[in-house]
Amino acid sequence: MKQRRLEAMHGYTYILPSLILIVCFSIIPIFMSAFFSFTEYNVMNPPKLVGMDNYEKILQDEYVREALINTLKYVVITVPIQTILALVFAAFIAVKMQNKAGEFLRSVMFIPVIASAVTSGTIWRTILGTDGGIVNNILGVFGIDAINWLGDSRTSLISICIVAIWKNVGYFLVIFYAGIMDVPKSLYEAARVDGANMFQQFFRITLPMLKPITSLVVTLGIIWSFQVFDLSYQMTGGGPGYSSVTIVMAIYNAAFKNYKMGYACALAMVLLVIVLLINALKQHVFGEKEG
């Protein structure tokens, strides 16, 4: 008994630094935000309790409503596309490019992941420029009129989604690739003996075996997508009009432009609840069980 307790103590000692960091910078701030969301607080002066006022204001805030709709659209567009693209690329590299070229391709596709959002946003602003942008120049070769990618409310959010997908695919590709490499080769050998073609192997073996990985990728994709801010802030500033404002941009503006930390915390709590609900829904879809 004493030995087991000692071993447990030993284990806790190892996780202590990480635990302290998580408690200090994640757990405590969540509870503090929850508290501040019921206050009027400008950071300099003590918070003043205002009950549900901040949450009532959220319901009437047109900016927040637009931001929520845009963020949901962003999630719906980016998460499925980046997940499917990453899976397809990973499967292709794993099956067809087990060589130096495959390694090179994986590295190249990972570069956007490590590029800062500010840099990416600036570069893509130039690429998507209406007059003289690379994309419009290419479209012009095929006789297609220039598209006002970032300056039109119908295309601004889609443009940001394209950049986000370009930036995220490399990361999820690596995760999927690792997952595919972990699938026992004997399953494929047995399938081939039974006469399964490549597509049947992919849909009957690879995809089911990657279910936990896909769940992880979708979870991360949803969480990251709800946090979208930097690309939109850099590329369009939320415009034109309110066409690309996002929920985190609304939080940022409330906190750093209007100095309404209580209201910003209430928005953050709403975002937390939405992410938790969608995550629960996703777990239901993927049929995950606790423990």
């Binding site: 030993h10 000692t13 190892y14 202590l16 630094p17 302290i20 960091l21 400008n42 950071v43 300099m44 002066n45 204001k57 009437q60 805030d61 047109e62 900016y63 500010v118 602003r125 420029g129 209406t130 007059d131 220039a146 006002n148 990618w149 970032l150 300056g151 039109d152 409310s153 802030y233 850099q234 590329m235 369009t236 500033g237 939320g238 415009g239 034109p240 009009g241 309110y242 404002v245 503006n253 906190a255 750093f256 432009k257 209007n258 100095y259």
Partner: protein
Amino acid sequence: MKQRILAITLVLIMLASMMAGCGDSSESEGNELTLWMAPMASSDAAVTDQEFWTEVGNEFGAAHDCTVKVEIIPWDSYEEKYLTGVTSTDGPDIGWLYMEMFYDYIEMGALADLNDYFTEEDKANYLYYDMGNILGGQYALPFIVGNPRILVANMDILAQAGVEAVPTNWDELTAACDAVLANCPGITPLALEWGSSHYGSLNGSFWPFFWSAGGEIVDAEGNLTINTAEGLEALTFMNEMAQKGYLGTSVTSCDDARVPFNNGQAAFIVSDTGNALQSDVANWDYVTALSGAQDAETMVAADSLVMFESCENKELAAELIKYLTSTEVMTKYHQTITDQPPITVDEEYSGSEVFADLFTKDSDMLRALPVFKGASSMYDSLYKNIQSMLLGELTPEEVLTKTTEYYDSNLK
């Protein structure tokens, strides 16, 4: 066992490092001042802002037996840096704020009243001292009162269009834009930055038109007053210019009007004086502002130095502010870093002769943005709504109504 001891030792070292990182690094001695300045030097300047202010700080430190820590705050994260710095007691003793930031910092009690630290003689030497009297206190000392937004014209394009002089009022501008459209194919008559990601573009693209129509942003009580006949006139004029094609086909994606202007693809831009001087167009001219229904007026930057309440040695900080704004330092600053008009009586105008008249004869056309609650977000909301108007999604009336309703219900 040895491995366990080693592992536990490493864990303890990590914990100690983390705790050390949580320490308060802001405990400065009374003879140490922190100075946060804004970047104004051009990217290819021989002397950077950091180098310039560090040298000035060292000179002051040597004369007053103190240390001046200088930090240049990038514009990209300006307001966040100030808010987090000031609230975490890790902020500056002396800072540089622009108009939109003042209301909240004064309301929060973060700024010190400078009045008692300046003698009548000191005050008399400042050209814009009274401009720093905001919300009942001398919370600011105007430091950069310049960079007015002016209408700059490519005279070669105007000549091609048959226009002889830069327009001086809205009617002349309309006529000139029509002439450019008719005679200069492929040229945008007036390039305005309605595609910028920041509402700061209003300073050149809207406020000069708004003020020249007779509009006022807020009244004496701080109520938003843009939803008036004057505001509507200015917006309607802007909308008509867009409808007639004066602003180009992709006005809501233009984030830097200097690009088409420098490439000879735009006849007019509204530019600040600093950028106008760096224009690649050889033959250009300007007017300070266009008159509309009312007299011509345009926006001038009025950034100021402030002292924070948290400053431990306010006397010393006030001395530093006086030194930073002294004729000696300002003359050097205007010659080395940024070409701006003088802020003191003693300093002679050392800038470009092109703008000498602007700062003397046209000075009554220049006005700064007002200080009021929620300014940043009101500007952001107005900017976004005007973008929607230019895309044909809102009418001018709806822009004014929506912005005012949003301000009154969420920001006031």
